[in-house]
């Protein structure tokens, strides 16, 4: 997995049933079904709103976060 792919919604193809709820719910049209499995088609469009993670009835989607400590200049 490339560094960029790490920081996109992760969809577990073994758990996804292809119901399409996340595709419908995504406000930025970033997701689509490919061979009956949800996939992030437009990673640049994704704004990490987390809606897909919330609506997925199977818990197949998770959004990985990176923790960054902001040090005041």
């Amino acid at each position: 997995m490339t560094e960029d792919e790490t920081w996109n919604p992760q969809i577990d193809p073994d758990i996804c049933t292809g119901c399409g709820e996340c595709v419908i719910a995504c406000p930025t049209d970033a997701l689509e079904l490919v061979d009956d499995v949800a996939a992030v088609r437009e990673p640049d469009a994704c704004n990490y709103c987390g809606v897909c993670e919330e609506v997925c009835p199977e818990g197949a989607i998770s959004l990985p976060y990176q923790l960054v400590l902001v040090v005041d200049g």
């Binding site: 998770s62 990985p64 902001v70």
Partner: protein
């Protein structure tokens, strides 16, 4: 494995608090019995209630120790990073492993079989003292976790988790998800979402797409009910 390989293990082992003051002879014996392992991300290192495999010494990567409820709900006990040992208790009493361990990144580790570890303890006073010291630390950590679960509200547990992750990057998780935090704090992902939003409103953190920026560590420590430092 060739002797030379084991000798090259000595300086590495010396860096661990357990082995800092062990006699050279003893360390050579231990190194001679250490077994090398590699794991891929997601690979199980050992399972709870399996026979103890020994004392694990982590060279590279991250490991999580976790328990599963009968319903399959995961509860993460701890993360381990390079320079940590794990499975210490089961290595000592040779009873079954206390928890499950899984590689969360690529992992390179050594394991010292229980028999070899216990035999070394019987012969080396310094090793005994170092192990007692190490186990005391583990015990304090467990009491700390117990206190968190029993006495701290979720928001304080979450704040403390975030503080620990940034203050101890070596054993932090490289990519955290709501589900992962929830299983570490024995709550649900929905509760974690709400609590993260509360911390954001309070001004302690800010979201920047996939980044959680800790904008006010002092405030976060306060939320975590930790003393200022």
């Amino acid at each position: 494995m060739a002797i030379t390989n084991h000798l090259s293990l000595l300086p590495f082992l010396r860096q661990f608090p357990y082995f800092s003051f062990v006699s050279e002879d003893q360390l050579i014996k231990l190194a001679g019995q250490a077994i090398h392992h590699n794991f891929l991300p997601g690979e199980i290192i050992f399972l709870e209630s399996d026979e103890s495999s020994g004392l694990w010494i982590l060279k590279k990567g991250r490991v999580k120790a976790f328990k599963l409820s009968p319903e399959g709900q995961e509860y993460i006990l701890r993360f381990f990073g390079p320079g940590d040992t794990f499975n210490d208790l089961a290595a000592l009493d040779n009873a079954p492993n206390l928890a499950n361990a899984m590689a969360i990144t690529q992992v390179e580790a050594w394991v010292i079989p229980s028999d070899a570890f216990v035999a070394a303890l019987q012969e080396d006073h310094e090793l005994c003292l170092a192990v007692i010291h190490g186990l005391t630390g583990r015990m304090r950590n467990l009491v700390d976790r117990l206190e968190d679960l029993a006495l701290r509200p979720v928001i304080a547990r979450l704040a403390k988790f975030l503080v620990e992750q940034v203050e101890n990057p070596a054993s932090a998780h490289p990519a955290i998800t709501r589900a992962l935090i929830a299983s570490h704090l024995a709550t649900t992902p929905e509760t974690i979402s709400r609590s993260l939003r509360t911390l954001e409103k309070a001004g302690a953190i800010r979201f920047d797409r996939h980044r959680i920026m800790i904008t006010d560590l002092g405030l976060l420590r306060h939320q975590a009910q930790l003393d200022p430092n």
